[in-house]
Point group: none
Chain length 412, copies 2
């Protein structure tokens, strides 16, 4: 089954918005065995949208459009699609009532502009949008389906997962994939550690994806028999794990903080953090997981020396003698975080995120990560690059990685 994505919106053609919607859809459709053959981007222009729809329905089995079904005047996709599929717009009172009720529930009055969302092409089947005002639409023409989805990523994703993807299950060929997520390993080293790539590729196609968080290694097997494909995938995965296993933190979409959260919950342990240069990002990642109150009790962002002294009780001598960015301070911070909270682990970060503020001795990109457990206190020194936000990300990734190491010791 071939599929074409049509991304609609001037913001995509003027380079204001990166087309992450198409990438997200393509990734998920591929994993369902649906082959995405074309992605076409057009502006909010009736003629261009119609021309894109005509071309797509001619060369592809299924078409998905995103964008242009919001309530404002520049959203024209619904009307253009109704016109293209020769369908009248009819007013659906029940949709208006549903929208009104949703606004009321949140204590807000629905604005008049949203009434337009209750006008629906009569030939279209609706796709429920639980979090927005624009329903999705399904048109059929010459036995081919065209799905009209919103461009707001959260709405598009939820509607795809709830309604769209289940329709495609079992329709495509078998494509099985596994992404092995590693951290603490440069791409070239990951590649070299695998040795002759043919050892893996006799079973599965291999792709390396370097990211700030680490290197993802993706294995893909296509075929007709699922059992056969899965067996080959497993054989490929095992070879990769034998080479780089100790750098692996998770699979597919799993983030390092999810892996850490699972281990914390499994071992009934808690963690407290004391952050300087990461400025709250470590706590933020640890609390991004639903149910985090089970293992995360508190965090402090002690940016100034004064706050390190007042909240954490770091001795002034340490700060004066070794500086705020030092292994001594990192260790004292981690220890204090654990002690004042009563948590099982204390993790700290102190460094220079940049892009300014570095010295020859303590350059931008330098970080000390402190770890305190019931048994020991230690710290790790790492040196990354110049870019502030990437550095914060890398520092946090390294901190989570050390915490994961401690947790794995407990279950090994």
């Amino acid at each position: 089954m071939n599929l074409e994505i049509i991304s609609i919106g001037d913001e995509l053609l003027i380079g204001q918005t990166v087309n992450t919607n198409a990438t997200w859809l393509a990734k998920h459709l591929t994993s369902l065995g649906v082959e995405v053959k074309w992605i076409t981007t057009v502006g909010d222009d009736a003629d261009d949208i119609k021309s894109a729809l005509a071309t797509a329905l001619q060369r592809s089995d299924v078409v998905i459009t995103t964008g242009g079904i919001g309530p404002t005047h520049d959203d024209i996709t619904k009307n253009v699609a109704a016109d293209f599929f020769e369908s009248e717009l009819i007013f659906k009172a029940e949709i208006l009532e549903q929208l009104k009720r949703r606004f009321e529930k949140r204590g807000r009055k629905m604005s008049v502009t949203n009434e337009d969302q209750a006008w629906i092409p009569e030939k279209a089947q609706l796709i429920d949008n639980p979090i927005g005002t624009a329903a999705g639409l399904i048109f059929e023409k010459d036995g081919k389906k065209c799905f009209i989805l919103p461009g707001v990523p959260s709405e598009m994703k939820m509607m795809s997962e709830k309604t769209l993807f289940p329709m495609f299950k079992g329709q495509g060929q078998t494509i099985v994939q596994k992404t092995i997520r590693t951290t603490g390993l440069p791409e070239s080293t990951a590649f070299e550690k695998l040795g002759d790539i043919k050892r893996v590729e006799q079973f599965a196609k291999v792709a390396f994806l370097p990211k700030t968080s680490g290197v993802d290694i993706r294995l893909t097997v296509k075929g007709t028999d699922e059992t056969e494909c899965r067996k080959k995938l497993e054989q490929g995965v095992n070879i990769v794990l034998a080479s780089v296993g100790k750098y692996v933190y998770g699979y597919d979409d799993e983030e390092l903080e999810e892996a850490v959260a699972k281990l914390l919950i499994k071992t009934h342990k808690t963690v407290a953090v004391a952050e300087s240069c990461t400025g709250g990002l470590l706590a933020n990642k640890l609390t991004n997981i639903s149910g985090s109150s089970e293992y995360f009790e508190r965090g402090v962002v002690t940016y100034s020396n004064q706050s390190k002294i007042e909240i954490l009780g770091i001795p002034e001598e340490i700060l004066e003698k070794h500086g705020a960015v030092s292994l001594e301070t990192a260790e004292a911070m981690a220890e204090a975080a654990r002690k004042i909270s009563g948590a099982d682990f204390g993790i700290s970060t102190t460094g220079i995120a940049g892009p300014t503020g570095g010295t020859e001795e303590k350059p931008v990109g330098l970080v000390y990560i402190g770890v305190s457990t019931a048994k020991e206190i230690y710290s790790k020194r790492l040196l990354f690059f110049k870019e502030r936000l990437e550095n914060k990300d890398r520092f946090v990734q390294a901190a989570l990685s050390l915490l994961k190491g401690e947790l794995i010791k407990l279950i090994a």
Copy 2:
């Protein structure tokens, strides 16, 4: 002048790589006054590439392709383009020599695979690639130009800036744009507040872009005379500002935390935060700005009741009587953050990020944001949606917005 971008590569169609090349090109071409009308993505497939070229050359004045001209077996764009434009490949010894010299200069031996890069379609003009092995190509057909560029972002960008963009200078029309960034206003309400959209559109085309962070309102003026265009843009912007000015936090790429940081630095004020449900994200955003130590002194993530009592000294009676998610707790947290840090402003968040943990009285998406200044303490109750990470984002955006309001009072 209309232009079409053809992005070539399987990695784009399976969702492995986000198409940032097209966005980058579109942004720069737009600023040169070139109108990008279509972006087409195809895989590494000869028939599809030819079909995309044929369609593009029919409907657009200029075509740019990226991707598929590297040295390995899966790069087929050069051969397919030569075939499409009916051009023989000829061996250019001087290109091979040039490549060999470049490898030698870096102390490396050129691999045999790269010899293929010296085979060039005879009808093509070359675009020098100073940092890679694949030269760019320019074909002409029926008076229309087609530029073939590599997909490696650094190579594509350098070749565009050095060779491609200078060719377009003065060829396009004038396009001027301004994006007005708002927060705290749903898209439909923003639209209604502008009144009759024609008042603005007599000067500039208006587009609404809803995001988690708020609604962006983009104004665009196209024309021939730049002064005239800028004047119209300003007139349009002024009408928008008169209607929604108090929700505006910045322009174009500026983030709310950047706007807040600028105001804090300008007014020489400092802020301390006490977060519960946002789990460090507020501190993280405030410290994403280089130089944040000037205004950010400390933050605490008091996730548990115990930590609220111990670090912030929140009275147990408040937590027992009103609960952790209450305006009383929010205000006590904000006040404590300000008092214990000596900062000018204390900001707090307490709520239910979800997706679980809500009750009928206190549902998922509910947040209280506390503000403490030297003059007053107050809090704001807001109710958002079900999705944890989006809720955290929205809570933080609302908190930054309140802080911005306080700072604006100081300079008004």
